[in-house]
């Protein structure tokens, strides 16, 4: 059961195509898991379509229909659409979107350590304003307490973690902004794997890590 969802702003911007690629990917991942938000998202697309129908039509060039008709012949073979799996977990246990970003096996990913219990792997989405990363937190391990200089979106892929405000399991979606300060801690029984999207580096409030703050850079690509 999913308990934490993207808000109306994020869902609308996702449905309308206004959201940047990395956060949009994160919202799309949540929709994989959440029937309620899928319905909401469908309704927001209906809203988009209702606005679309009200646009003032603009004349197209006279020959455009003929051009398109001719191209239907040329391209009689339908393009083969890749059909990403619509179930929550693809073959490797991760949603198809994550697998596409991993470009291979989970085992081959290039992880960086952050303390004893946390590993980070940044994945390239093409979004130059937002960093998209996988976080692997060992059972009972924590990400040192931090606040944010911008927004942080988190989606749980596997296991669960808790912070000062609640407990989050697979499919749960969290948004934290500059005012929030938290210490995500994986539950004791198993490791937790999440997707995190940042639009600015975090700021550690845990004194053991504060010295690193001036050197933290967003690694968006």
């Amino acid at each position: 059961m999913i308990h934490h969802h993207p808000d109306t702003r994020l869902l609308s911007e996702h449905a309308s195509g206004a959201l940047e690629l990395a956060p949009s990917t994160c919202v799309s991942l949540h929709l994989n898991y959440c029937e309620q938000c899928r319905r909401r998202h469908r309704q927001l697309q209906d809203l988009g379509s209702a606005l679309f129908e009200k646009l003032q039509p603009r004349n197209v060039s006279e020959h455009l229909l003929d051009t398109v008709m001719a191209r239907l012949d040329e391209e009689a073979e339908p393009l083969s659409y890749r059909s990403p799996s619509s179930t929550a977990a693809g073959d490797g246990g991760y949603p198809a979107l994550v697998q596409r970003l991993m470009r291979g096996d989970y085992a081959d990913l290039d992880w960086q350590r952050m303390g004893r219990n946390v590993r980070i792997c940044r994945l390239r989405t093409g979004d130059r304003n937002n960093e998209f990363a996988l976080y692997h937190i060992r059972a009972s391990g924590s990400i040192p307490q931090h606040s944010h200089r911008g927004n942080e979106l988190t989606l749980v892929l596997e296991g669960s973690f808790s912070d000062e405000e609640g407990r989050y399991s697979a499919g749960d979606f969290l948004m934290r902004d500059a005012q929030d300060r938290h210490t995500p801690t994986a539950t004791r029984d198993r490791d937790c794997i999440c997707v995190g999207v940042l639009d600015a580096p975090v700021r550690f409030t845990d004194w053991r890590f504060r010295a690193a703050n001036p050197f933290l850079r967003l690694q968006a690509s």
Binding site: T8, S12, C37, Q43, S49, K54, V68
Partner: protein, 196 residues
């Protein structure tokens, strides 16, 4: 924005477009495709011109791309799952997003079809509910005050984020958010949120 049809006519016409799409899908019916083209191509062009300046410069290319996709994907169209205009609108949104990212030279392994996968609904039993939702949204939209509708149009048709809309209209971000919330509330689309 010119409002042309009342809800009754637009619903009837939507059935007509759905039938056309089904004819294209099942029988590769070119005449039905031409009818769809005449109605939707000018809307797709308007949608392209509403987008970023980059995409607007390629408006007719976008129309071609969208209409060809309509032809290619029509066999997948299911009238019980979506109205024709919602289906075509989502293709237009996907193509415009991809075009923009292509023009911006995004180096990405993801396409719009990955971000918005087709098979979002498998639950056929909800199709009646879905149609009802769509009709309700269309009807309620006319009852929304201009200052709210204008913002929705900027988000959905121009593809702008809330912050970009705030900047453009010279309004505080909080005002934009609250107008969107008022509109969504009216449309019964508001999600319960953490105290924002």
């Amino acid at each position: 924005m010119a409002i042309t049809d009342g809800p009754d006519t637009s619903e009837r016409r939507d059935d007509e477009w759905s039938q056309c799409l089904e004819l294209v899908g099942a029988r590769r019916d070119r005449e039905a495709f031409a009818r769809l083209f005449k109605h939707f191509a000018p809307l797709v062009k308007a949608f392209a011109l509403n987008g970023s300046a980059l995409a607007a410069n390629h408006a007719e290319e976008l129309v071609q791309e969208v209409m060809i996709k309509v032809w290619q994907k029509a066999a997948k169209y299911n009238a019980r799952k979506a109205s024709a205009s919602t289906w075509i609108y989502t293709i237009a949104r996907n193509c415009r997003t991809d075009l923009y990212r292509r023009l911006q030279k995004f180096d990405t392994p993801l396409s719009a079809d990955d971000i918005w996968p087709d098979s979002e609904t498998t639950e056929l039993f909800t199709s009646v509910q879905m149609k009802r939702d769509a009709v309700r949204i269309r009807e309620m939209l006319s009852a929304i005050p201009h200052e709210q509708a204008q913002i929705l149009a900027k988000i959905y048709m121009e593809g702008k984020s809330h912050s970009e809309v705030a900047e453009e209209l010279d309004l505080p971000l909080g005002t934009v958010k609250s107008r969107v919330r008022l509109a969504m509330n009216k449309l019964q689309l508001l999600v319960e949120e953490r105290g924002l």
